[in-house]
Symmetry: C2
Subunit: 804 residues, 2 copies
């Protein structure tokens, strides 16, 4: 097999590879510069040049070179390979490749494979109404935007997991390599199983520069960089070219040989692993590809060296239009690729060059893994109803939502052994998903000790202490059509705010691209949330990820705050069935009262919002005097406790309790697909009664979501207002005025007439707060009247009991 | 000097060091577990034990060990040293050290240095009303929270820059080392000048585990880890202890010797560099400190191994109260440190142990660098008025705001050669601060080439392609009392959302701690913003950092959107003089019209919000028919262009133009110190007239800020609604309905009566949008009527001219 693969690479083939490289370079320059005259059939004139020159040349020739050679290897070895372009700002490179192998014209019929098509290919690039300047969702073959640098390698690993036949060639910019996420992503190799996963081939594009500076890795001694790669657990293969006048054939010959060695090395590792003869962890190959930035581009412009300096990063000459000197330079540069040898009279690529691209789905630009929805299989989901907590009466039982969810997830993991992963930054047990860990095992290819727990080379739970890595791996896995979940402390999910942005943007754009097939949703489970960060403190309290996500397109954003276990189960079942969304689910891991039976939970989650009749005291008819609304598990408890107090002290007051699971229901229907109509909203929240809203997160979000609704001015929100430390759970809610006593005070203050009448009750509530606070200071725990509080119906039956 | 430093470390001293270590361990356990009976003068009983056990034991003994030895070295070498605890969750460790050296009782008079103090020390830890469980602002000697892991090393380097006499000992958790930010932070050594900066001593705390898993670095072969450290440019010093029954004296002896070697190595590097004899880049020492997690703690609990496993991460035995077995185990454990040998009858530390701590400001817990405000010197700021753009008439001149700011910053850099730094992820030139780069040079200790630009080992601009690194370095620099600025693409500043959170939380807490002295503000300059990401596209468009920051405490948050150059200069002068804030300034780098003279700019910035009389057509008296409000440079242009159109087409309409520089002025005065009173707000925005608000960012933020104000329901906001790609500037605003034509439509739709009357004008505006869009599709640039638009007063004079 390996020997067969090693077919001859004769000079004739190398010559053609060089021609293909020239073609790709030509197309890259053409996209950046030309409006017209794509084949330079006539001398270049001002009107052929774009008035605004936008794009990145510097990285393109190196990537074109790699692409040419990878194509050769794919054909000769029949490889199933995708390509991830870390420096995805080099959009022209991947677009060129896709045009050269025919995919581009297949998916975009307006861009033909002839001269007219070429003209359109050039024109549309970075042009209004055209395509973006980066490798983007619009680029066939890509699962990676590459605008925000740092995620190439973790995306690559995510794609390779559970894809034993796939090889993911990954170009990493030497600038990109300076980012934190990329720097730690090298360690992904300790989580890849050579037997059941595919291969990742990292290619460090050591072109020496970033935008305006040299790169760190280019300015340390070669030996140091080789140490670094070895320290990352790789076998470095060093390739250097373009800095002298070695002829191109020789350069290609050297690279082809090196690439064969590298691919043989990968094949050997995989064979050994699959035959069970691999000794220890594999030292996977990685290529250090040292070539000049802007290779083959203009050497000098305006007396400044350009090739092999940062000056070639974007457009080597800007403002070409109308500048004769630059126009001449540009024409010379483009002609240096000898387009007349590459394209026929119709402007089509010569057939012998076209043959250098693989065909059909073997083309990296047409590989179905890079359009993951094509390969998506639905999950086999255990019936979540079977995991229901039995709730004899509201508040009658105490249970831990994520613990129960973990049991269901254990079923998901075992029923989908190659189609579902759980990611967590060392918090999956802390978030109490231990059942899923036990069922799936934790992925680990490092050394193990007898004292270790649940570690396995094929584990289904991935735990590295890097939120970036978890997010990047999961994105790669989803984008190639599989399913997964990321569990994280709520506060620290902000670490991946920027990555989330990019993924949400990707989803938004792909929804508008007909040939992109929907992929499984990105599912977050944020536990250990702001109200129950018991071991930690202020630094671990931040419910603002929700605020962050709702800035993205409503079409792709879903936020759920299930108040108890059965609603959590129902919510998550829904999430794992969905496509093309980002689902943010915030759920507690601490024991808490359970409110709804499974049937009620399903109905409540289907509505997303609803009146809790059992908790309301308005008799279910007529307008209430006040609405107590709540979203989130802890706010729900405080709201019900407040409702209980109101029943006791103000039995005449008509209180309606509304619980929100699906936060987006609060928006107007014109703003979000889940939004309520004005009529529905008014029915729930009235048009003029005070609403006291206890919310899990930063209170102003509720205002931002509801500002279009009639009764908005009467909504009074309590939530986290950035007050906290290491303290008891009830002290936390008191610090933020979200506690039951304060909610009662809010009701008294807002319901017309009560303030004057109920001054004594108000004062008692204030005293109760004080008493509760003092109790914590003395005992270190919450006052029993709070800690042991139970909903009246449960209390009446001597409940709650702990679920068993 | 070095020889002198190498004083004898005899067994007597080592014995005392061991006793100090035992004392620190004892105190660490005591803090986690005990409410009372701090010296175990009586048998441990249930009521002596805390009811809620919160904290992290696992990391503490290792850090206590390091602290003991660093203290010895500080005394013997008279070192100026601070300590950064990466695994800052080990709060007990640093609190113990500060109590043992007396600082704690000095700053917290309620915690004396005797038995009563000890009782309070124990009780308050993770206790309601007490102190947080982590190393926190409340912890003397810390500049680092360590709750959110990953930033220890970049904080350390930030502290060391421009502090040639300082050594920053930095403990890095092996879990923490898996994070992206930490993984790239090792490369900071290519940015540290051994001659003019201090030293950073990284100590990798290889205790094998994180919360629930082994760590990656603990499970690769020693040789691989050494390669990694060498690849990072360090000389690794390996220390391993605690895994066998080597006696403690021998362990201490070995570590003391190793530490001396390491400190000698640092001293040699510094001496050589300062004498000019250093050859090449220094391979600074780094210690790999391999010791068991939970060292000296319980070996086994409930039949599970605890010491040297992840099970020792938090509390080795939880729920001790009432559990006799655990109580006995705890007592045994604590007595194993032999408290009777460590504390005298009054509970004071024995004097011969106290002597092991340095004295006065040499104590790491009392080192002024760790309370940076103590050392803060005001900046010497060039008079920004001298950099003013001459604005003969509004809109009469075109200039690039950040280019001009760069000139002023050049002055700041040169006038404050060791007190001000500029950070940027390779974008400082792209953001057009080139003058500052030229003046200060760019920091670079890697190899250099003749073609390089402005690189220098003492450069004042730091550019590494890691937003985390920029942020972490700057935080370290600020927290040690110096000044700086972080310039970044607006979209990618989200990369440090989580780091910003931690810094803002730190500032919030320090403001409540009397002994913490205010430090210089954290200043952001976000350029290359959402509206002008010309070379890039959708992935580079995100104005949501503002939304993120305003969730933090109003006391520390300031957001500015200067509409032109003179307002930017005035704003930044203000920012660089401020303390304890986070200042977010969003400013364009593209050429744009200049509106205000310097005097007007100063007045406008001082107000933070104001009516632009020149642009209003309401004659300055009486109520307007409509308010056009704007915040941000591009929205200001569109608003003025809309005002121009309205003047032409609806000359009778009374239009008031309000510009907002200081976004927080929009909040209510009860919400933010800069907030307007109801009266002020109503005066500007009226109580009932339509307000069409053109905003730089996500529109809903304006609703969230203004929801308490009377006229809120009439505010109609346009902003970025997540629509974009690579296109022309005007196409971008059109995609988001923020363009002048749409603003006119909004006015027609909102001003009572106009909709019916002005259907033709409305249609013309829609047509103008269409025409503008089609023009871009054909020409690739913006239609001249937009691109060349000028404010009427300027137009009348044949302006604008380009500045400069
Ligand atoms: C996280 C992030 N920060 C900053 C940028 C701005 N930026 C765009 S390209 C670039 C330089 C990239 O250099 P490198 O990775 O070496 O790519 P190449 O040299 O191949 O262009 C930078 C800093 C970015 N895209 N992403
Ligand atoms: C960024 C981040 N993610 C997750 C956590 C949760 N967490 C707290 S401690 C810890 C393990 C830390 O391990 P290590 O750095 O080795 O410290 P040790 O306690 O072993 O000294 C984790 C994952 C965190 N604090 N920060
Ligand atoms: Mg590069
Ligand atoms: Mg550890």
């Amino acid at each position: 097999m390996l020997d067969e693969a090693r077919q001859t690479i004769d000079d004739a083939l190398l010559t053609r590879i060089d021609a293909w490289w020239r073609a790709a370079n030509y197309l890259s320059v053409g996209q950046i510069y030309l409006l017209d005259n794509p084949l330079l059939r006539e001398p270049l004139r001002a009107e052929h040049v774009k008035p605004r020159l936008l794009g990145h040349w510097g990285t393109s020739p190196g990537q074109n070179f790699l692409y040419a050679h990878l194509n050769r290897a794919i054909i000769q070895r029949d490889l199933d390979m995708i390509y991830i372009s870390g420096p995805g700002h080099g959009g022209p490179s991947l677009v060129s490749a896709a045009w050269l192998d025919g995919t581009y014209s297949e998916v975009y019929s307006n861009v033909g494979d002839d001269e007219a098509g070429l003209r359109e290919l050039f024109r549309q690039f970075s042009f209004p109404g055209g395509i973006p300047s980066h490798v983007a969702p619009e680029t066939p073959g890509s699962i990676h935007e590459g605008g925000e640098l740092g995620y190439a390698l973790s995306h690559a690993y995510g794609a390779a997991f559970d894809n034993p036949g796939l090889t993911v060639a990954t170009c990493i910019g030497d600038g990109e390599a300076e980012t934190g996420p990329l720097a730690t992503a090298w360690h992904s190799n300790k989580f890849l199983d050579p037997a059941t996963d595919g291969a990742v081939l990292p290619i460090l594009h050591l072109n020496g520069y970033k935008i305006a500076n040299p790169t760190v890795l280019a300015r340390i001694p070669r030996r140091e960089l080789e140490h670094l790669m070895a320290g990352y657990g790789h076998t470095p293969y060093w390739f250097e070219a373009g800095f002298d006048d070695e002829d191109h054939l020789s350069v290609h010959r050297r690279f082809a040989t090196l690439l064969d060695e590298v691919l043989d090395h990968i094949a050997t590792i995989q064979r050994d692993a699959r035959e069970g003869t691999l000794d220890g962890r594999a030292a996977w190959p990685a290529i250090v590809f040292k070539t000049p930035k802007g290779w083959t581009g203009p050497r000098e412009v305006d007396g400044h060296q350009v090739e092999n300096t940062y000056r070639s990063h974007q457009v080597p000459m800007s403002a070409v239009r109308g500048n004769e000197e630059y126009t001449r330079l540009l024409e010379e540069w483009m002609r240096s690729y000898r387009p007349e040898e590459l394209f026929d009279d119709d402007g089509r690529l010569h057939p012998d060059l076209r043959e250098l691209s693989p065909s059909g789905p073997r083309r990296m630009s047409a590989n179905p893994h890079a359009n993951g929805g094509l390969l998506t299989r639905d999950l086999h989901l255990p019936d979540f109803r079977e995991f229901a907590v039995d709730v004899p009466v509201p508040g009658g039982v105490i249970d831990e939502p994520t613990t129960v969810l973990g049991r269901w997830l254990a079923g998901v993991v075992t029923s989908n052994p190659d189609n579902f992963l759980i990611m967590g930054p060392d918090e999956t047990a802390s978030n109490r998903l231990s059942a899923a860990v036990a069922a799936g095992g934790k992925r680990w290819l490092g050394e193990t000790l007898p004292t270790d727990d649940s570690l396995s080379p094929t584990g289904r739970v991935f735990e590295m202490l890097s939120e970036h890595q978890c997010q990047g791996w999961l994105e790669g896995y989803l984008l190639t059509g599989r399913h997964g979940l990321f569990n994280c402390y709520e506060a620290f999910i902000h670490i991946i705010d920027a990555m989330f942005n990019q993924h949400a943007k990707w989803l938004k754009v792909t929804r508008e691209i007909p040939w992109r097939v929907p992929i499984p949703s990105l599912n977050y489970l944020l536990s250990s949330h702001v109200w129950r960060q018991d071991h930690n403190g202020f630094s671990h309290q931040d419910p603002g990820f929700i605020d962050h996500v709702v800035n993205k397109k409503a079409d792709v954003i879903r936020v759920y705050l299930p108040p108890d276990t059965n609603t959590l189960l129902s919510t998550y079942d829904h999430c794992l069935r969905s496509r093309d969304y980002v689902n943010v689910v915030v759920a507690g891991k601490q024991p808490g009262p359970q409110w709804l039976t499974m049937d009620e939970a399903i109905a409540h989650c289907t509505r997303g919002i609803g009146i809790w009749e059992f908790a309301s005291s308005d008799g279910g008819e007529g307008e209430p005097d006040v609405v107590l609304a709540c979203a989130g598990d802890v706010p729900t408890v405080e709201t019900l406790a407040a409702a209980d107090l109101l029943r006791q002290h103000l039995p005449e007051l008509r209180v309606r309790v509304v619980n929100v699971v699906d936060l987006m229901r609060l928006q107007d229907e014109r703003e979000h697909p889940h939004g309520l109509s004005a009529r529905e909203f008014d029915a729930l929240f009235t048009t003029d009664k005070p609403v006291v809203f206890a919310y899990h997160g930063y209170p102003w979000l509720i205002h931002r979501l509801t500002y279009r609704h009639t009764n908005h001015d009467n909504i009074h929100v309590r939530g986290y207002k950035e007050e906290g430390t290491t303290t008891t759970p009830f002290d936390m809610v008191m610090l933020n005025d979200l506690d039951r006593y304060h909610l009662v005070i809010d009701v008294i203050d807002r319901v017309p007439g009560l303030a004057a009448e109920q001054a004594v009750l108000r004062q008692r509530m204030a005293d109760a707060r004080l008493r509760a606070r003092l109790y914590t200071r003395e005992h270190g725990t919450d006052i029993p009247e709070v800690a042991e509080w139970a909903w009246p119906d449960a209390r009446a039956r001597g409940l709650p009991a702990r679920a068993g």
